[in-house]
Assembly symmetry: C3
Homo-oligomer: 261 residues x 3
């Protein structure tokens, strides 16, 4: 499927897929074309048989964020369409049924930082940095801060948003923007290891669980429990759940309908 893409590469390695931002000459800028291709890749890989996904980037930066040239001297309708394309991409990323781990080797800024925040999990190299830089310019990073603010909280998100300054990878980990920080030489290995850890077990169960997780986090506590209680009861009756229960009782290893490791 990746043959159709200009700025995106999709690689398959057994049960895993890697979706690459691949426009290194322009620092993986999130041009409209790049965003449309990523959205398509998220849909394609999401509908495919991969059980886990890495989101990575080729070249010197992870991503330089929006392509400012596409916002110069445009109509409101054009600019609105551009940001809607971006939001559609972020939503498609989070809607992928598989666990998605962002692997960040260098600066992820603006909508590039939002892309990292919109993955389920993230591993960063020591030298990676993260910014929502619009605050020190003329276009505040309002949409990136939707995703970033939900991970790091109000006070730290406002510091990033208002200052526009980058934070380092250790700070990103301390604030909950990334799960793990490792030396650059171990980045691939650590990301693979996390991906393996989060893709064990039943694929169907995890798909149900991921969707319900995001849905319930947006609700108040009683509504969240209403939803989660129904989802969990339904989920206990799928074949993989009954198999895991039977295996537990019979003290044997479970055999999933779809299994990875």
């Amino acid at each position: 499927m990746s043959g159709d893409f200009q700025y995106v590469v999709v690689e398959h390695d057994g049960p895993y897929a890697t979706i690459w931002l691949n426009h290194p000459d322009r620092l993986n800028v999130l041009s409209r074309q790049m965003m449309l291709e990523l959205t398509q890749a998220f849909h394609d890989v999401g509908a495919g048989s991969s059980v886990g996904v890495i989101l990575a980037a080729k070249g010197r930066l992870f991503s330089a964020g929006h392509d400012f040239a596409e916002m110069a001297d445009k109509s409101l309708a054009e600019v609105r369409s551009l940001f809607e394309t971006c939001t559609t991409m972020m939503t498609a990323l989070q809607a992928m049924p598989q666990p998605v781990v962002a692997r960040v080797h260098a600066l992820a800024t603006g909508a590039g930082c939002q892309l990292v925040a919109s993955a389920d999990l993230a591993v960063a190299a020591d030298e990676a940095t993260f910014a929502t830089p619009g605050g020190k310019g003329g276009l505040f990073c309002t949409t990136p801060l939707v995703a970033v603010g939900r991970l790091i909280g109000r006070r730290r998100a406002l510091e990033m948003g208002m200052s526009g300054d980058a934070i380092d990878a250790q700070t990103a980990a301390a604030w909950g923007l990334v799960n793990e920080v490792v030396p650059l030489g171990e980045l691939e290995f650590a990301t693979d290891a996390l991906l393996v850890r989060v893709t064990r077990g039943s694929v169907e169960s995890k798909t149900i669980g991921k969707r319900a997780f995001y849905e319930q986090m947006d609700l108040d506590l009683p509504a969240a429990y209403d939803l989660a209680t129904r989802v969990m009861a339904d989920g206990a009756l799928i074949a993989d759940a009954q198999e895991s229960i039977a295996a537990f009782i019979e003290k044997r290893s479970p055999r999933w309908r779809t299994e990875t490791v």
Copy 2:
């Protein structure tokens, strides 16, 4: 009251109560019977005269979570009833008027981890660990992650939920799942000390404050302030509030209508 319980023990020590999970042979599994008994204990102690509550567990683990045997070959109605029983228990725990401190000496997993997250506060021993393990099996921990996700945030909750791996007590403290970590030999002492700290002052005022805290955290900011402003004004007129104000002005110790230390 504890005489009626098979798997739960309630102990009273002056103004404090300890509610024990007491089914060590089965690792304090949250069977339907255990959940019904805990719910009853939460109601009983909640309606009683205790001013603070410890939630503790006997035996090798804190709790192994749900009893898988009760989900094998059951109808949807039966399984749904089981999870509703669980949600009712968690809700009853949080609805107790007293401060509740979970004292966690070892693994709390699945709904056992949710139980810890549903207490107001938690102290853990160094060797305690915490997991939502369904992600590596066939039944994702959707309901536990309602409570856990509201304490540790989206990114870390997804790591726990998707991997199913346990985190250690230090990590739990860093992520806000427990308030404090101490050596096992100091666990009782540290929990008691925290319980004393959080049960000083007016019982009535704290009851009002706890309920309003959980209610307002589920609202947007203007609605939260509307609620909190009314509750705080009403709360300033109760006898204990007026006594604390009078004592402050007269530079003397207050005398609560109900007081513990």
Copy 3:
């Protein structure tokens, strides 16, 4: 404008304003008069030409919180009016169009702690401490915990609220209640440095971004993205945004319509 105030001083220093709590003899207690004056100062400075604001306090404490004397033997209508005055003040603080940094040199307690939490950012001296002390008295800090709970989360907010004990500045930073902790001798310098960092760039853009940030954080994810996407598209068409885009493309420095550094 500060000539009209009894307990508040407003100082202007170039593009920045400092709003001082100035009732040191009474530890900057948030009496009705102090709250009305602060509210007026927030409106005045908010409507003025300052591009960044420091909220500071003169004397031994940052603020002792509410004035208990004003709650003694009062009617419900009077007490309710008092707390509504307080909520109006906190809302006016957050509604200021400029970035506001609280500079905390010593204890901020009760509504004083809420005031720090309601600023956009905060820098604390090593010896500063923070408390919501009502929990160990007769009047639980329900309204302060609206603001504090949204920064530090449920578990830690309940520990502060139920115990009433103060936390130190390092803990406040670890929990996200303040952005930075420095030695007292560096507090002014560090606060100024943060204020400069968060007031670079376009004033208009930052005003739009701050308001949208708080609005979207109160919404569920789809609604947050709907709002943010519209705000960001509109924001990309203001003169300062187009100037920043043009400057980027032409590889020159931007010239904001309103600029500070």
